[in-house]
């Protein structure tokens, strides 16, 4: 099989890139997803944050571009409800040390032109009246928000599908192959060979092993993270919440349920196959609940209906790898999103489409290029 563009990875980045390419008139696009469903990895398993505040300065412009140019009109563009809600991000502090940390983060963002300000206890409690009395202040970024990763990812996919993009599930890639110095073939695990003018690698952590097949490596690791989901609750608040202590983050969805994430506990050290680790370890579950209760006591009685886990592709320096690879012409990388991939995906995908078409991307992405690891 031949195509103009082959995208490896049917997550939000892959699906959205396919969409933006199709929108530009690229005809022959193939998306390869190794699992049975689109958005099977971190695209469906994330807390839904569309956040700029607190991001690394190398990544912040991408997050800001996504919020300024893409998110507000995305539901309309895709014809699905992405549930994008721009009601701000409150990062909560309980101690003076927390406040110091929040100040530092806020200063970093302000220097990049993002509106993040510190709010005192009273203002924090005005913004969110459900906060525990222990919260003594917060940083607040009014342009941050959240959206629904499930409908957004599948929304991009369904739109791209409608526009003629060829999606394949159960499509396991064995490796890449250079032909006359250019990466132009994708070897499938069943031996089938696909070729394309441009190959985009957006396969999350699996990207690393695929890169290895052309003798290159991406210094990254897969890290497990979990979320809990509550029953439907009456509308309580609409901000995205985070904490200086990083003990939980989350928001209330349009449906009414709350989604709260936390750093995984024992899962991270257990030798278990990814396919059976579908839900939070009980230690993680308990710790997350205690953390949430500590900030929003009214939710103590709220019932959890499920938990889930997902994998972050975390690079050694904490930001994604985005753009062409000097040693592998024909290949464009988009992976290592460190758990920030959902909120930035529209901007990332748009710029990937630009790069594929030989255009200069909207932003200077040199800080995120692959070669930075070896400079």
């Amino acid at each position: 099989m031949k195509a103009d563009v082959i995208i490896i990875g049917g997550g939000i980045v892959g699906s959205a890139t396919a969409y933006y390419l199709a929108k530009r008139g690229v005809k022959d696009i193939i998306v390869l997803e190794s699992s049975a469903s689109i958005g099977h990895g971190a695209s469906s398993r994330n807390g839904g944050g569309v956040r700029q505040s607190g991001r690394d300065v190398r990544e912040l412009p991408v997050a800001m571009l996504a919020v300024q140019k893409f998110w507000p009109t995305l539901s309309e563009e895709l014809g699905v409800n992405t549930e994008y809600t721009q009601e701000g991000n409150l990062r909560l502090g309980k101690t003076e040390a927390h406040m110091k940390k929040l100040n530092q983060l806020a200063d970093n963002c302000k220097a990049m032109g993002l509106d993040v300000r510190m709010v005192d206890k009273q203002e924090a409690h005005t913004i969110n009246p459900y906060l525990s009395d222990d919260v003594i202040g917060a940083s607040f970024c009014p342009t941050d928000g959240h959206a629904n990763p499930l409908t957004t990812t599948l929304g991009y996919y369904m739109k791209a599908l409608e526009m003629g993009v060829h999606f394949y599930t159960h499509a396991k890639v064995k490796g890449l192959k250079k032909i006359k110095g250019k990466v132009s073939e994708v070897i499938m695990s069943d031996g089938e060979v696909l070729s394309a003018k441009t190959i985009i690698l957006a396969a999350g952590y699996a990207s690393r092993a695929i890169m290895n097949t052309i003798g290159l490596d991406i210094p990254m690791d897969d890290v497990i993270d979990g979320c809990i989901v509550t029953e439907m609750e009456p509308k309580m608040f609409s901000q995205m919440l985070g904490t200086a202590a990083a003990d939980f983050y989350g928001h209330q969805t349009h449906h009414g349920s709350f989604v709260f994430g936390a750093v995984a506990g024992p899962e991270a050290y257990m030798d278990i196959p990814p396919e059976t680790t579908n839900f939070a370890h009980p230690d993680t579950l308990g710790a997350t609940c205690r953390a949430v209760e500590g900030y929003i006591p009214a939710l103590a009685r709220s019932k959890i209906v499920r938990s889930w886990t997902g994998w972050c592709d975390c690079t050694s320096d904490g930001v994604c790898v985005l753009g062409p690879v000097e040693e592998a012409p024909g290949l464009i990388l988009a992976c290592g999103f460190n758990g920030h991939g959902f909120g930035t995906a529209p901007a990332v995908a748009y710029m990937l489409a630009q790069m594929t078409c030989g255009e200069k991307p909207l932003l200077d992405l040199s800080a995120l290029r692959y070669e930075r690891f070896y400079d």
Partner: protein
């Protein structure tokens, strides 16, 4: 709906201790420890809630705590499975509209 007082196989039904509770403010009686849903049924109440989207009535469906259709607000807590929650004296039971009691329901 009646209680079964005498059964051809199980014999005489055990008589429970009568306790008072309220449903939507109305004073009712039931047996202590029986499922809230049973006490409601005996008092002729079949509608436990109205759904969030289509505002349709729901009641007991599986009676073993699995389907969660019979949930109501019990002592202020929404989504309580009444088919497996034992009745206690003085319980305040409310019909659930979406996930709220009526006055808050939109």
């Amino acid at each position: 709906m009646e209680r079964i007082t005498m059964h051809p196989i199980l014999g005489e039904s055990p008589e429970g201790k009568c306790v008072e509770f309220t449903c939507d403010g109305k004073k009712l009686e039931g047996y202590e420890g029986e499922p809230i849903a049973s006490a409601l049924r005996v008092n002729g109440i079949m509608v436990h809630r109205y759904t969030a989207k289509r505002h349709e009535p729901r009641g007991v469906f599986c009676a073993i705590g699995r389907c969660t259709d019979c949930v109501m607000i019990v002592d202020g807590i929404p989504n309580v499975r009444t088919c497996i929650t034992p009745l206690k004296a003085g319980m305040v039971v409310q019909t659930q509209y979406g996930v709220s009691a009526k006055e808050e329901a939109k």
